[in-house]
């Protein structure tokens, strides 16, 4: 069911302790800062967070990590020049890390939304990130079995929604939004603009509204 809500607080109110939360964004592009701030305020903790990174600077996901609300990160690139909050928690042994090659991360998220039980991929074969995983020689190369990543909730930033929850994004801020919307049981989307049903060209819609549960407009 699709809900339009008035505040980011209402949008995230149902997120439970211990949830797996996908958060869109690559660096700051497409990161739904207002929804993450609301998640911080709502108090949910013991979270597993799926994101490409592990927070930048002193905002958004980085603050959620700093406040000890994240027990585990599933990501491809945690270490950056400004990932000091993650770095401190990791070195203190206070956060678990599942490191996933970026394309495997994206495809595992996609697989969850598409009902795929797992897939074989050449990426990572023979490396420490494939240790302990099933391998097969397929299609002329060695490949590694990877499993889907499901989530309870996705927090996504898009540009525009229509009355049916159809979404379009902006430039490289699209990144993980479409696949996370499909992979999570409940997708919460912040947008800059809501237009009436019929206000988006059906030919350019990126995320069909069937994947979207809650929409909130932020300034």
């Amino acid at each position: 069911m699709l809900n339009f809500v008035d505040t980011v607080g209402e949008a995230v109110a149902g997120i439970q302790d211990g949830s797996t939360v996908m958060i869109g964004g690559f660096g700051n592009a497409g990161q739904p800062f207002e929804l993450i701030d609301a998640l911080m305020d709502c108090g949910a903790t013991d979270l597993t967070v799926v994101n490409n990174n592990a927070g930048q600077g002193d905002q958004g996901l980085a603050l959620l990590i700093k406040e000890g609300r994240v027990k585990k990160m599933i990501c491809s690139f945690p270490r950056q020049s400004d990932s000091w909050h993650f770095d401190a928690k990791f070195r203190a042994g206070e956060i678990e890390l599942e490191l996933v090659p970026q394309g495997n991360l994206a495809e595992r998220i996609r697989a969850a939304g598409a009902g795929i039980g797992g897939f074989f991929t050449p990426t990572g074969y023979g490396t420490m990130l494939a240790e302990g995983k099933e391998t097969r020689f397929l299609d002329g190369k060695w490949q590694v079995f990877e499993t889907p990543i499901h989530a309870d909730v996705a927090l996504i930033k898009a540009l525009t929604a229509d009355g049916k929850g159809n979404l379009v994004y902006r430039k490289t801020a699209r990144n993980f939004g479409p696949i996370m919307a499909a992979a999570a049981k409940h997708s919460i989307v912040q947008v800059s603009e809501i237009v009436p049903t019929g206000g988006l060209d059906p030919e350019v819609i990126v995320t069909p509204g069937i994947y979207v549960n809650s929409i909130v407009k932020v300034a």
Partner: protein, 223 residues
């Protein structure tokens, strides 16, 4: 040893920009190319419009233009290094799973990556030093190494301590196996593959002098 002198194409080692210019010149017209973070990004400065190269950035774009400046800077338009960039006419945007399908599916002609080490058979180590206190971060390195038709590496031949980064087998954790086809360094261009290492050209040294620095057997590439 006339072959040794004939492959020396410069009397001194190449600087970073000269090397980037050489890589750019070697990219076939019409190619789809991904340039890794760091030194490989310099290659974009030397691509000529008539080469008609399309740049891919793994965060979801084909047709990436030069770095953005001034009013062009837009937080929603960044490259894989999270640097603001511009879009060229004909650019396209797509989500992350599609972006990595472009790589994994073998649609990219060339990626250019940095490296800690490359082995004689083209194994690549470029994501993790393996140091016990290092926080590992892999990003798209393994996907790029595995997916592109040709993987070019750009690096200095020697570490600061003077040790060759072209090695018999990598001591750092691997990024991909047998994936590197060419290694561009300040002292030489190497062609790597199942048959070992061939040297295409040298800069500021002869093949014999180069061999003294590198612990794997070298042969001059046949022209």
């Amino acid at each position: 040893m006339s072959s040794a002198t004939s492959i020396q194409t410069s009397d001194k080692p190449l600087g970073r920009d000269d090397l980037a210019r050489l890589v750019a010149r070697d990219i076939s017209p019409g190619s789809f190319v991904n340039l890794g973070i760091g030194q490989p990004t310099l290659v974009s400065n030397y691509l000529e419009p008539e080469q008609n190269i399309t740049l891919h950035t793994e965060n979801g774009m084909l047709g990436m233009g030069p770095e953005a400046t001034g009013d062009q800077i837009d937080g929603d338009l960044i490259n894989a290094g999270k640097i603001p960039v511009t879009e060229l006419p004909g650019a396209s945007y797509f989500h992350h799973a599609d972006s990595f399908a472009i790589m994994r599916g073998g649609h990219l002609d060339i990626c250019v990556l940095g490296a800690f080490q490359v082995s004689a058979t083209g194994d690549l180590a470029n994501w993790h030093t393996g140091a016990p206190d290092a926080i590992p971060a892999v990003g798209g390195a393994m996907d790029l190494a595995t997916g592109a038709k040709d993987v070019f590496v750009m690096m200095t031949l020697l570490t600061r301590e003077g040790v060759s980064k072209l090695v018999e087998s990598c001591s750092y954790p691997l990024t991909g196996i047998g994936c590197v086809t060419r290694v561009y360094t300040d002292k030489a261009v190497f062609l790597t593959g199942p048959d070992g290492v061939q040297v295409r050209e040298t800069f500021g040294c002869s093949l014999e002098e180069l061999q003294a620095l590198v612990p794997v057997p070298l042969a001059a590439a046949s022209a």
